[in-house]
């Protein structure tokens, strides 16, 4: 059997910059951050008061944040018949649990998947499946590499011929639960995330919902679905080192990148740019630069992070950044790393606060998360 090429035939997103690729792309190119003051819960006790918030959402009233973010995106998908659904999130509708506990109720109602609001993420997945008319959904959760891993799994099913279409949906929201949690770990920047900056001091939480339809190139051609790009390789790894901190030497992430390049049958010299995880924490960004040097040696190429612009969207970050990577390939430009003013010595010659021209047949996009999970995808323009 000849392995199928994996084509993206649809992609959409809602981020703090707004709806659709154009809003997010132009926001990043403007160099202006969409991270703003949080007003949906009290941040008075925390180190930071800002996040990448999608405007117009209601909190603890009616539909969950994730449902509100996904509503329009799901409506506009032309769902391929027989497609598999891969759903990625870290916390799903966690505000259901927040409400139950805040109101002094038993948390049983919030975990019961028969109630309208359940903090069990499989419940949200079932609602997404019902909205799309798809059975056979799989929830993938791998911390902040959740949707990167979901894309890898979807692409694997297509390339192996076990499926010829997949819908990948990802979302995570800014809730008091996650905000207080990251604050407790002292992981938040007081102001805004400054990935790869010498003075960086933490991440900014963000929220987003994204969708993508993947198809075998054969089916896309048969159904006249024009590819917007391809995913030719993927790799996943674990640091096997620490629950919340990345390995200092970058070995784990480098393994994922090496696998992604190898699985595409590509050479490292063909990789022209990298959409990095770039959270803005001291250790993550340092680890990533070490990993990039393990893979590419001293051969610098444009590296950027979108998290100074729209925050760290957790389980949605991988899919969001894969779609941005396709736009970067299409326009042959890497967006500026928003809030990067003074490049850290480790990132000198790689990351920039200005847009950079890119070359190469491929672009890598990478994510890493708690538990030491890493994932990398190798993307190609249509």
């Amino acid at each position: 059997m000849v392995a199928s090429e994996v084509a993206f035939v649809h992609a959409d997103m809602l981020t703090a910059y707004g709806r659709g690729m154009d809003a997010t792309w132009s926001g990043l190119l403007s160099g202006r951050s969409a991270i703003s003051k949080v007003d949906r819960f009290d941040t008075g006790a925390f180190r930071s008061h800002k996040a990448g918030i999608v405007s117009g959402l209601t909190y603890h009233k009616g539909e969950s944040l994730s449902e509100q973010m996904l509503a329009e995106l799901l409506l506009e998908i032309e769902v391929p018949s027989g497609a598999q659904l891969f759903f990625a999130t870290t916390k799903g509708e966690i505000e259901c649990l927040e409400q139950s506990i805040s109101q002094g109720l038993s948390n049983e109602s919030s975990r019961n998947s028969s109630s309208s609001c359940s903090s069990n993420p499989t419940h949200l997945m079932q609602k997404v499946g019902a909205a799309l008319g798809l059975d056979g959904a799989t929830l993938i959760s791998a911390a902040c590499a959740s949707s990167t891993s979901a894309l890898a799994r979807a692409a694997s099913e297509i390339r192996a011929g076990r499926a010829d279409a997949a819908v990948v949906v990802a979302c995570d929201s800014v809730s008091e639960f996650v905000y207080s949690g990251f604050s407790s770990l002292m992981a938040l920047d007081e102001d805004m995330a400054r990935p790869f900056d010498k003075t960086r001091s933490g991440l900014s939480i963000g929220e987003a919902a994204c969708v993508a339809v993947l198809m075998s190139a054969e089916r896309a051609k048969r159904e006249s679905r024009a590819p917007i790009g391809y995913m030719d390789g993927w790799g996943m790894s674990s640091d096997a080192n620490h629950m919340t901190g990345p390995s200092r030497d970058g070995r784990g992430l480098s393994l994922a990148m090496e696998k992604a390049i190898r699985s595409a049958g590509a050479s490292k010299s063909e990789v022209g740019s990298i959409c990095a995880h770039g959270t803005g924490t001291l250790y993550n960004d340092s680890m990533e630069m070490k990993a990039l040097r393990l893979v590419f040696g001293g051969h610098a190429r444009p590296v950027y992070s979108v998290k100074g612009g729209l925050g760290h969207t957790m389980g949605a970050a991988g899919l969001l950044e894969a779609i941005i990577t396709l736009e970067s390939l299409r326009t042959q430009s890497a967006p500026p790393t928003v809030n990067l003013k003074e490049v850290d010595a480790e990132a000198e010659g790689w990351a920039s606060g200005a847009a950079q021209a890119i070359g190469g047949r491929y672009a890598l996009t990478t994510n890493s998360g708690f538990g030491g999970a890493n994932a990398a995808l190798l993307m190609r323009a249509a």
Partner: protein, 191 residues
Amino acid sequence: MARVAGMAMAMASDAEGASAFSAPFKNYGRMDDTSKLVCRAVAHAVREAGLAYPFAPKLQAAIVGTSDEGCLDMDALYFKDYVECGRKLGRGNYFVYTLPSSPIGEATIHFGMEGPSLFVSGGLASAMGTALALMQDEEAELAFAVANTKDRAACIAISASKGAMDAHELRSRLAGAANIDDELDMIGRIT
């Protein structure tokens, strides 16, 4: 071709605790109950597979976890504690375990597994299917599929060549189960 190299269960009621591990487990005491249970099941499966650990160099082994409720207990514990503390400071050591993938993250660290680690829905058959796909994609040379309820956990070690049972056949049998409890009953009968 993929074989079941080892298969084992751990019960929450067992008093074995950290003695289940053949190497010191530095952080065992601070882990949540699910992580303890999952890691014990993995330790038994590693032993059943005839492997010695910690793996040095680290092993290209994948681990795929599954459960019906993920980390809902820890979610509730974390947020209740946060509310009871006046919504000023969450407890970081609770927050770390509010991800469905946290137990398998702990397992990768203790055993030294550098392959993919992820949580999937759909029970043990789904976790085994993902593990087999990861091996087929050459993401890992060995894989562990682990499922848990509150009371028990089962872990299946899958190897490319070693073991008496066909891993695909076991997966097919598990796919006929109604839920994770039934899957674990099935594994209990086999082990």
